[in-house]
């Protein structure tokens, strides 16, 4: 029989998991609205405007529409795999958040209990995130294969080749950060980025790992299948890519996965390179006491999400051979060079 403290811990974990999952599950609603609004304003349009004030209820209407759509399984498809793959793609996108630290500890009023703002602080943090995040590619590959449609197959194969190619550069660019922090735990990585350089610049890894950050950003864009690397869903040649045969909620799950992937890479960039929940050093002490650290974290993540949306409506798409050239011939040697330089400077 486990003691009371363990039971309280487990209950706390379950509460945290439910809260985090529900927030992540509904996060794509505001994000789709935001993305369409940003697209509209960049292209000198208004974007969604009809449903609710400034179209804020549009994603809700879209969700209700998707809910009432027929769930079609093509007769040629591998039925079991076809129905399973959206869930296989979606679950890892959520599971990654089991170790993401959103902020420092907070004390709950009245009961005076300290609660840490992460579900679990694993000692293998970053490795877990990269490993679980990589499983999403199975869902996409299975979806493309099980559809038994030519477009879906090409989309799925393109997606898997692209994701495995850039995963290497992505992982190598994280190694530099690990070398500085001497730890794989995301909480420790954030803690090492406290303070300031020369009193002005924040002590963030971006200033120690500029090359690593650029490699990370490019690889993350490719990993999330976003422009300029969105070849798996290149409308001009592949219709919709791997999810061309999906409809209703299963299609929505693939979209959810994509938006969560974008949020995940934003969160990871903030934690690894931009100091996590640490505030910039020039913020006065009184203001720092007023603003909880989690707001700095959310603010930084929001900047990154805006950045990714901005890129999508600014850049054209690469060709597939260019994509592979960038991945294998430029990013891979550069990321190894980054590890070499970091190692030489550290020892």
């Amino acid at each position: 029989m486990p003691d009371v403290n363990t039971l309280i811990e487990v209950a706390l974990i379950i509460v945290k998991v439910v809260i985090v999952s529900m927030i992540l599950f509904s996060l794509p609603l505001p994000l789709t609205w935001l993305e369409r609004k940003i697209a509209g304003h960049i292209q000198l349009r208004l974007g969604p405007f009809r449903v609710g004030p400034h179209g804020v209820l549009q994603p809700l209407a879209d969700m209700i529409k998707l809910m009432f759509k027929e769930d079609i399984t093509p007769y040629k498809a591998d039925k079991w795999l076809f129905r399973l793959s959206p869930i296989v793609a979606m679950v890892p996108a959520f599971a990654v958040y089991a170790t993401i630290p959103f902020g420092n500890t907070v004390t709950v009023p009245f009961i005076n209990k300290e609660i840490s703002l992460h579900i679990a602080d694993m000692n293998v943090g970053i490795l877990y995130v990269l490993a679980i995040g990589g499983i999403t590619v199975y869902g996409i590959m299975l979806g493309g294969w099980a559809s038994n449609s030519k477009y879906a197959l090409l989309g799925g194969i393109r997606a898997s080749a692209q994701m495995v190619s850039y995963e290497i550069a992505l992982t190598f660019s994280c190694v530099g950060v690990v070398m500085i922090a001497n730890s794989l735990s995301l909480v420790d990585i954030v803690h090492t980025q406290k303070g300031a350089i020369l009193g002005i610049l924040p002590n963030w890894n971006i200033f120690y790992q500029p090359l690593g950050f650029i490699i990370f950003l490019i690889a993350a864009l490719a990993e999330t299948n976003r422009i300029p690397f969105d070849l798996p869903e290149d409308e001009g040649t592949l219709a919709a890519g791997y999810h061309v045969e999906y409809s209703g909620m299963r299609f929505a799950f693939f979209m959810l996965t994509e938006y969560l992937a974008m949020v995940t890479v934003s969160v990871l960039s903030v934690i690894l390179f931009f100091g996590g929940w640490n505030s910039p050093p020039l913020v006065p002490e009184t203001l720092n006491n007023l603003i909880p650290p989690i707001f700095w974290f959310i603010g930084k993540v929001a900047v990154f999400i805006y950045f990714f949306m901005w890129l999508r409506f600014t850049l054209p798409r690469y060709r597939y051979d260019q994509l592979m050239t960038i991945g294998w011939k430029i990013l891979l040697p550069l990321s190894l060079l980054n590890i070499l330089i970091t190692g030489l400077l550290l020892i």
Binding site: K16, D71, I72, T171, E245, L336, L346
Partner: protein
């Protein structure tokens, strides 16, 4: 120790439950009106051509990329523990790791020279 990995199981279980619940509601409220044309694979509205056996046909380059990935993915597994303790182990571990990486790089250069990374 267990408490730091238990959340993984809980979050996976909860998300699978959530997804199944949503799919169940979708099944309850959605119309069901399948017919052959609707269920056929989408090929721009034309009759699907070819047979199922053609499915396995794709460019061999994708397969080569997958094999190359395996090599470098194994390398990352060595790199992470090495990066954590590098400052303690010092110059010897650093040189050793770069000999290992250099050996793998020879493989990459060979593949590159053979033209396996060209896509045209």
């Amino acid at each position: 120790m267990l408490l730091s990995y238990l959340p993984v199981l809980i979050i996976i279980g909860f998300v699978v439950f959530l997804a199944s619940a949503v799919l169940f509601v979708n099944k309850l409220v959605s119309p069901k009106n399948p017919y052959k044309d609707k269920l056929s694979p989408w090929e721009c509205g034309m009759e699907p051509i070819g047979n199922d056996a053609d499915r396995g046909h794709f460019k061999v380059h994708f397969f080569i990329i997958a094999i190359l990935f395996l090599v470098f993915d194994a390398e990352t597994l060595y790199l992470f523990p090495w990066a954590v303790v590098l400052k303690e182990l010092g110059i010897v571990a650093f040189v050793e790791m770069f000999i290992f990486i250099a050996i793998l790089l020879v493989g990459l250069i060979y593949v590159w020279a053979k033209g396996a990374l060209e896509w045209v």
